[in-house]
């Protein structure tokens, strides 16, 4: 019996190669999407879970406010937090302070810029499970100037020789660090993924004077998981006591459980966080794709079942029961689904690297063999078999033999409603995704092309350090000798993303009424290099910059007089019309008294998720970046020229450059990624929906084959038949639009609300999606209708 089923199944699958192929194809695509997304979700939710004591660990979040203006909250603390908290709260068993920096590392003739050099207290191994392959976790980081390398990093510097005991040189000043251990490479699902781990004491930052100077990350490990809540509740009162001399200043701390940081915290860890919202969106999309694939399968198979009707009739007259027929057809879906599953495994294996590229993750193929993934694959397969296999099998097994064998297939309306609603649903999803994609792409286009108020083209960012700064004037002059370079400005932050919290007040405001403000210490060439527009007053002069040199840290602030350049928003917040601000007295943190030298036009110095805030530029002697403005020209020659100069002037540091444009784009990585994900999934869902439509349409064509024949004999042309056949589907797609468009409008509008500057949703975006949708419907149905219409009618009518 089974052999007979299998034979018929395989022969019939083979005979209808085209249907079988698209059937398996759509299932494979659906399953592959699903598996990839499950992999992604499993990966994202597994962050930091490998730390066995992780449920007792929390990160400290700082919140402060200088009695006016807005409150600042973030993942930074001063070095005092850990010792002070540990003394105060017995629930804290252990803690670690960490700080990640970019450092130049030299060993013999090797010179690299290491982006992820972590400094941590020696207790780091008590909290986190970072296994040491060599060295003793208790002593490896105790003492200054000790460093542990990951396996990969060790190989990079030392090849196959044993690095332990060797000396690496750090920074432009070539500070020696002793290698005291080798640790395993950090897994991809970790919120910190440093390449080197140096002792915290090497930073010489440890102090217990102040809670300010908050540049470090503190993790605390409690004695039990519940202690996180207990301690957090007591922090506020403790800090109030500690800060009682500091007037109206508000300061407190929160604790974030380690496991919730990656997906739920608004504050990044050492690696970028993910937003739980995007996880939900992506899960939703995965389920939609799987549903579409199932619906396609149902529509195709029901269509095909008509071709098998005769066989069913014969089998029934040969004595087959409904159950036997049902089992036979279910068996065929099982065969198809198993084939698709095998292909899915291959497809996942092939596509995973591309998927990793798209999501900027390093999901290993080994994750595929985990229990969760295997179970969810089996689950999905089961859903497909039960959902999509059973319906056609049910329909088929209920065929009445006399009807199907007579050839006069009564046009039953049963199941029609279901298949139509599946099509409406499928098309609705596709149109929903299509419109969303249009709007996301338009917003991305808007971001890329919005006038930010500064030039981001032809601007190169170079790093700077103390060695370069010691001869900066000559350094800049030499760089400008490279043909094509017009300005070399210095700054602490690039103009696309100015961070760092300062306070400001005008001389008229009382000293406790501080306003939070972003500020960037710069030199006189920053404004022309960044292409900022001075509205009133004039740019810094060389003399302004030179003057600051005399302002030492211990000097009496009253003797200082800083020239400030502020933006329009800052002027207004300080209470002046921008045109009347020049010359006014103001303070930037009470340590910097001065006057407004110029007002610049507002520009976007942060992500356009936020409205433009106040900004102050002030002169400085020390900078961390150089902003090189070039003329339009051959960028590679300019870069080659710059590199030659660099090697000559700063041999202690590898030549490393970034384009401001790229840096700007990287601020919108998650949006750009969302755009790409939507592009791909929209494409897939439209493809699957069209295949499903093809199935439904060929079903209709077969059902109406007699009608078409008669109409042709009556004189209907091919176009008349196409019109007749398509009208129905056009109606269906109009219903899908009526459902999908309002939903798309609502959800995408919500996403747009997260941008302070955004596009308007135009009606023509919907019109475009509608036109594309209708065109696809016409194309798919038209093709089949044309085929049905071109068959000789005499053939169709002869069955009677």
């Amino acid at each position: 019996m089974f052999k007979n089923y299998l034979k018929t199944a395989l022969r019939s699958l083979f005979k209808n190669r085209f249907y079988t192929a698209i059937n398996i194809f759509s299932l494979t695509v659906g399953l592959t999407c699903c598996i990839l997304i499950t992999l992604y979700i499993v990966h994202e939710t597994s962050y930091d879970r490998f730390h066995t004591k992780g449920n007792r660990i929390a990160r400290v979040i700082m919140e402060y406010n200088f009695g006016g203006g807005s409150t600042t909250t973030g993942n930074f603390t001063s070095t005092k937090v850990l010792p002070a908290f540990k003394r105060q709260f017995p629930q804290i068993e252990e803690g670690v302070r960490m700080h990640q920096l970019e450092r130049v590392i030299a060993y013999e003739d090797k010179l690299f810029t290491e982006k992820k050099v972590m400094f941590a207290d020696s207790t780091v191994f008590n909290l986190f499970d970072f296994p040491l392959l060599q060295g003793n976790p208790k002593t490896a980081l105790s003492g200054s100037k000790k460093i542990i390398l990951t396996q990969t990093t060790a190989r990079k510097y030392f090849g196959n020789t044993d690095p332990v005991g060797k000396i690496l040189f750090m920074s432009s000043t070539r500070i020696p660090f002793e290698v005291t251990g080798i640790m395993a490479d950090i897994p991809a699902n970790s919120q910190m993924r440093f390449d080197m781990l140096a002792s915290f004491s090497s930073l010489e930052a440890n102090q217990e004077r102040t809670y300010w100077n908050a540049n470090y990350t503190t993790y605390l490990m409690m004695r039990s998981p519940d202690d996180i809540k207990t301690v957090e509740a007591k922090i506020s009162a403790f800090i109030k006591e500690e800060m009682k001399d500091q007037g109206s200043v508000h300061l407190t701390y929160f604790l974030e459980p380690l496991f919730s940081i990656h997906l739920q915290s608004p504050y990044d860890s050492f690696e970028p966080n993910n937003n739980i919202l995007y996880i939900y969106i992506i899960t939703g999309v995965a389920l939609l794709i799987l549903l579409i694939a199932c619906f396609t399968y149902i529509n195709l198979n029901t269509a095909r079942s008509l071709e098998r009707a005769k066989e069913v009739g014969i089998r029934k007259t040969a004595g087959a029961t409904i159950k036997q027929i049902f089992v036979q057809f279910m068996g065929e879906s099982v065969v198809l689904t198993i084939l698709a599953t095998v292909l899915t495994v291959i497809a996942v294996w092939l596509v995973l690297p591309l998927f990793n590229q798209l999501t900027d993750k390093e999901i290993p193929m080994s994750l595929f063999y985990s229990k969760t993934i295997i179970l969810s694959l089996l689950g999905a397969v089961l859903i497909i078999i039960v959902l999509s296999g059973s319906y056609p099998a049910l329909i088929v097994s209920r065929f009445q033999p006399i009807k199907v064998l007579k050839g006069s297939f009564a046009r039953t309306s049963s199941g029609n409603a279901l298949r139509r609603s599946l099509t409406v649903f499928q098309f609705g999803i596709s149109l929903f995704l299509l419109v969303s994609t249009f709007i996301i792409q338009k917003q991305l286009h808007f971001i890329r092309n919005k006038k930010m108020g500064f030039d981001r083209e032809q601007v190169i960012i170079l790093p700077s350090d103390s060695k370069i700064m010691s001869t900066i004037a000559a350094f800049k002059a030499e760089l400008k000798k490279v043909p094509g370079i017009t300005y070399v400005g210095r700054a602490q932050h690039s103009p696309h993303n100015i961070i760092g919290g300062y306070n400001m007040r005008s001389a008229q405001m009382p000293s406790n009424a501080q306003l939070n403000v972003k500020a960037d210490p710069v030199d006189e060439e920053f404004i022309p290099a960044a292409g900022l527009e001075v509205l009133y007053g004039s740019n810094f002069s060389e003399k302004d910059i030179a003057n600051v040199q005399d302002y030492t840290f211990d000097m009496d602030p009253a003797l200082k007089n800083f020239p400030f350049i502020i933006n329009e928003t800052a002027a207004r917040q300080l209470g002046w019309e921008p045109s009347k601000a020049v010359g006014q007295k103001m303070f930037l943190d009470d340590t910097r008294p001065g006057y407004v030298k110029a007002v610049i036009k507002d520009f976007h110095f942060a992500s356009i998720h936020n409205p433009i805030g106040p900004l102050v530029l002030f002169p400085t002697q020390w900078s961390s970046i150089l902003l090189v403005k070039t003329t339009k020209g051959n960028i590679s020659t300019i870069l080659a020229g710059l590199e030659n100069k660099w090697k000559e002037l700063a041999p202690h540091r590898p030549f490393q450059f970034k384009f401001l444009d790229d840096e700007f784009n990287s601020m919108y990585t998650s949006e750009i990624r969302l755009g790409k994900v939507f592009n791909i999934f929209t494409g897939i869902s439209i493809l699957l929906a069209c295949i499903g439509l093809l199935g439904l349409c060929s079903y209709a064509a077969q059902q109406r084959i007699k009608e078409i024949g008669i109409r042709k004999i009556m004189g209907a042309g091919v176009t008349d038949i196409i019109r007749l056949m398509s009208a129905d589907f056009i109606k269906l797609s109009l219903i899908s639009m009526a459902i999908a468009f309002p939903l798309a409008f609502l959800s995408i509008n919500k996403w747009l609300q997260s941008f302070a500057y955004r596009i308007d949703i135009n009606w023509w975006l919907f019109a475009l999606a509608a036109v594309i949708g209708l065109a696809l419907v016409l194309l798919t149905t038209g093709l089949l209708a044309a085929r049905a219409a071109s068959i000789n009618p005499v053939k169709n009518l002869r069955t009677e």
């Binding site: 019996m1 007979n4 034979k7 018929t8 022969r11 019939s12 005979k15 005769k310 066989e311 009739g313 014969i314 089998r315 007259t317 040969a318 004595g319 087959a320 029961t321 409904i322 036997q324 009445q400 033999p401 006399i402 064998l405 050839g407």
Partner: protein
């Protein structure tokens, strides 16, 4: 063997009730060979389908070997059908994807017959019908007459007591038709299989022992 009592069959089209069969009373004994004749639309095929348990009457009683067919549950009825009835169609209705051998084997599968037994039963029939050489061919590779031969072989391989044939020679030329009719007569005489056939042709009807003429759903001549 078969007793039909006051069988009515109608379909409702809008407000009108169209009668296909009207008050059919019929008895057919074991070993009979009956030809049902009548013009198009007289209800021949419907009557055959009711006898073959593929269709139900709207009213009346059908006793098959003293079992009331209409009162049976679906499962019991299909069991009764499976054990007793074989069907031959005008359009042969072979499964295109299966070979001659596999087509004939199909009903045996639904009768839960063991593999070895199946082989000998199919081989037996192939031999009897002189189509051993064709056993691995697909239906599309056969002539109409050969296909109908396979159709009949398939219908009788389970040794049904009742063979129903709906215009079995309708698609065949006269010499092929005669061949089939001779076969029917042999089945009837040698195996004692009861045969009921629907036919248009006086000549084919003559092969039977008894002719029933239908007109407008009524039995005109018995």
């Amino acid at each position: 063997m078969i007793q039909l009592k006051n069988i009515f069959k109608w379909i409702n089209t809008g407000r009108n009730r169209v009668f296909i069969l009207k008050d059919i009373n019929l008895e057919i004994g074991e070993g009979d060979f009956v030809s049902i004749m009548g013009p198009s639309g007289s209800g021949k095929s419907t009557l055959l389908n009711i006898i073959g348990m593929l269709d139900e009457a709207s009213e009346g009683q059908y006793l098959f070997n003293d079992t009331d067919v209409f009162s049976l549950k679906e499962k019991q009825r299909s069991q009764l059908y499976k054990e007793n009835i074989g069907f031959v169609f005008q359009a042969y209705h072979l499964i295109d994807e299966l070979t001659v051998y596999e087509n004939i084997e199909t009903p045996l599968l639904y009768h839960n017959i063991k593999q070895s037994e199946r082989q000998s039963m199919v081989a037996d029939i192939l031999d009897r019908f002189n189509i051993v050489g064709k056993k691995d061919l697909f239906p599309s590779q056969l002539s109409g007459g050969q296909q109908q031969l396979v159709g009949i072989a398939r219908a009788i391989v389970t040794k049904p007591k009742l063979l129903l044939a709906d215009e079995p020679t309708g698609n065949l030329n006269s010499s092929q038709g005669e061949e089939i009719m001779e076969l029917f007569r042999k089945l009837n005489e040698e195996n004692g299989t009861t045969i009921i056939q629907v036919t248009h042709s006086e000549k084919n009807a003559g092969y039977g022992k008894r002719i029933i003429e239908l007109l407008d759903g009524r039995i005109e001549k018995n």
